[in-house]
Symmetry: C2
Subunit: 387 residues, 2 copies
């Protein structure tokens, strides 16, 4: 009997409009969550972890993965005051491990988490999807943020179109664009323009190589804790997998991941394989990346995108996009047979559809669109494994 992957679902905690009961009805058995109420960098107390775990287990579910224990900016930039944040991170990991929660997702994207320019692109079936458009990003960058040096980062045709868009947008449209670009994780704080400008200057000084070194330093600083407690860290790819707003990106392609896992070559140093984030990269061959790094993949986000030549992309139905989900699932289920512990995956994002369209959820985290994605992936796995 072939082993099945673990089906999980991201839950933003008790304030999430999607309930644990909804998650069960969608067919997931594992929950991916984080203590979003705790500010970045602070310690995750044992009691808070226990309380969250108890809520999840009372619903008949398992807390499978933490996404994310956020890495404080002081660590990413390796500022002199990073020490206490490292200490907090180590202790938070120990507290999670003490409760048996040992797969941790994190990212090392400077300042901003994932970035989109529109959250409600209407699909032909009337559902709504997240969208990233370079013209709009450039309009924000050049004319709202007014970043120094931004002019050099865009080709002429994008700059022209960005200017045209900026001039045609109403103030409300510009506000919405800024809000979308600056949006943080629900329940966590968003960033202000001045703060963003300051961060961009700070990261310009650090650069690509510096940020890579800071990541390895961070991982080295928690390595002993992870190894002793059995914690497996999984870095999430940059989303989108390009430098944006002049910020360096160090987890965008195969070379980046090979560097990360080889530079600190220990089993705890793993990857969250996100097919959507990686799939947005026009040069990324998703099955080839998986093949190269699969032994270190401890958590998987399955999502699809459709992109154009310019690199603009929208989030597509899970089985109907540029990522060949069949090929990915085939490789993933094969890898899963070699594991003692089932690899957890979650449907990542989903369109807003049916009753979702009347509700507010975290962008991308609709109930029904994700339920559809998870169901498609469940069927896909069964079709590949047989039974």
């Amino acid at each position: 009997m072939a082993k099945k992957l673990e089906q999980t679902w991201r839950w933003y905690g008790p304030a999430d409009t999607v309930s644990l009961q909804d998650i069960k009805q969608a067919g997931a058995t594992g929950v991916v969550t984080a203590l979003h109420h705790i500010p970045h960098g602070e310690l995750w107390p044992l009691e808070d972890i226990r309380e969250r775990k108890a809520i999840i287990e009372a619903a008949g579910l398992t807390w499978s993965v933490v996404e994310s224990v956020p890495v404080h900016e002081a660590i990413k930039t390796r500022r002199p005051d990073a020490g206490p944040y490292i200490e907090n991170y180590r202790q938070s990991l120990l507290n999670l491990a003490a409760e048996g929660i040992k797969t941790v997702c994190y990212n090392f994207m400077p300042v901003l988490d994932w970035t989109r320019t529109q959250l409600d692109l209407e699909m032909r079936d009337g559902s709504k999807a997240l969208y990233f458009n370079w013209n709009d990003l450039a309009a924000f960058d050049l004319f709202v943020l007014k970043r120094e040096g931004a002019e050099q980062d865009y080709p002429e045709d994008i700059k022209d179109e960005a200017k045209r868009r900026f001039e045609s947008y109403t103030p409300a449209q510009l506000d919405l664009l800024s809000t979308n670009v600056l949006m943080g994780i629900p329940g966590e704080r968003s960033i202000e323009l001045d703060e963003l400008r300051a961060s961009i200057r700070e990261y310009a000084a650090i650069g690509f190589d510096g940020l890579r070194q800071n990541l390895i330093w961070f991982l080295s600083s928690i390595a002993d804790v992870c190894e002793e407690s059995g914690i497996r860290m999984t870095i999430h790819p940059d989303d989108p997998p390009y430098p944006i707003l002049g910020l360096p990106r160090i987890a965008s392609n195969k070379e980046d991941f090979l560097y990360i896992i080889r530079e600190l070559d220990k089993p705890f140093n793993g990857i969250c394989f996100c097919t959507g984030s990686l799939g947005a990269g026009v040069s990324n061959d998703i099955p080839a990346i998986f093949e190269a790094v699969k032994e270190r993949v401890y958590f998987v986000h399955l999502r699809n995108i459709k992109k154009d030549e310019q690199g603009n992309f929208f989030e597509a139905d899970h089985l109907d996009g540029d990522v060949n989900m069949y090929t990915v699932m085939k490789a993933l289920t094969a890898e899963n047979q070699l594991r003692d512990q089932a690899i957890p995956f979650r449907p990542d994002h989903g369109h807003q559809m049916l009753d979702d369209l009347q509700k507010t959820t975290a962008p991308g985290y609709s109930a029904i669109g994700r339920l559809r994605g998870l169901a498609e992936l469940r069927g896909l796995e069964l079709g590949i494994l047989g039974q």
Copy 2:
């Protein structure tokens, strides 16, 4: 490139609480519907067919299958007044064919369509499912309907339990049980107890062999119309696939279907292969039945059930029941490769879940539960076919 099945969805027409937009968002491209406002036996006018077709096509969908053109009781019982009903049936088929709608589902179940004793059995995940329980059917049969001869149809343990239940049920519970058992298709009329008793007597005189002969007579009477216009008739299995309330059942197992297609051995005489209806039969081997009749399968209902030794069953998630959906889909996709025209299938029924639980839909025809089922089946097909 492997050919895909056609993904369809049953729609009860403009009054259905599930909209055509919902259907598109669920990922179906084909619609299965009927003119439910037209009383059984009456002619389906060309204008009504055109109007329905136009509504469906305006939404970007296709009217793939008619389910059902109901067969009037006068035909099933071959009463002397059956002639005009046959004429109407023939003309309705011609009208449908004139609009290019050539796959027609029907059933030959006496009086009642499908039968359940409960419509809201709560699952462990909080969703609700349709349920059939022999004790409750016997309680209705013995103590509400008070059918002559019913005593002989049940073993002692069921009769004892039926009596216990009847005595413990409140009047409201008994009313609900009767409503459930007698329920018709939404928008069509339900039957009264007296009418049911009269029908049961009528069918007792016809018997199993007589009903079979009536079916073959009906099919012979429409054969020329079907052959000339390209109509393919598909008989739906009995649901559940047992004689109930003393009524004969003639489309419940492999032998029944082989009889039907061999006795009138013409290509138009086809089958709607319903894995849920057939799956409720404790002696039915679903893949073996499909193998035996597959060349005449022109329409498929994919649904799952879980049953106990007594033959009680509830409708289970599409991939998680007694029917091995992987095996069925594998055989079905293989057969589909041999066809010029994709075989239409629909997810049949689905739990009420998430927002479904706050809404009223046709029993079994929830939006989100079915969306889940269709998505699972879509993934399953992709996993089997690869791409």
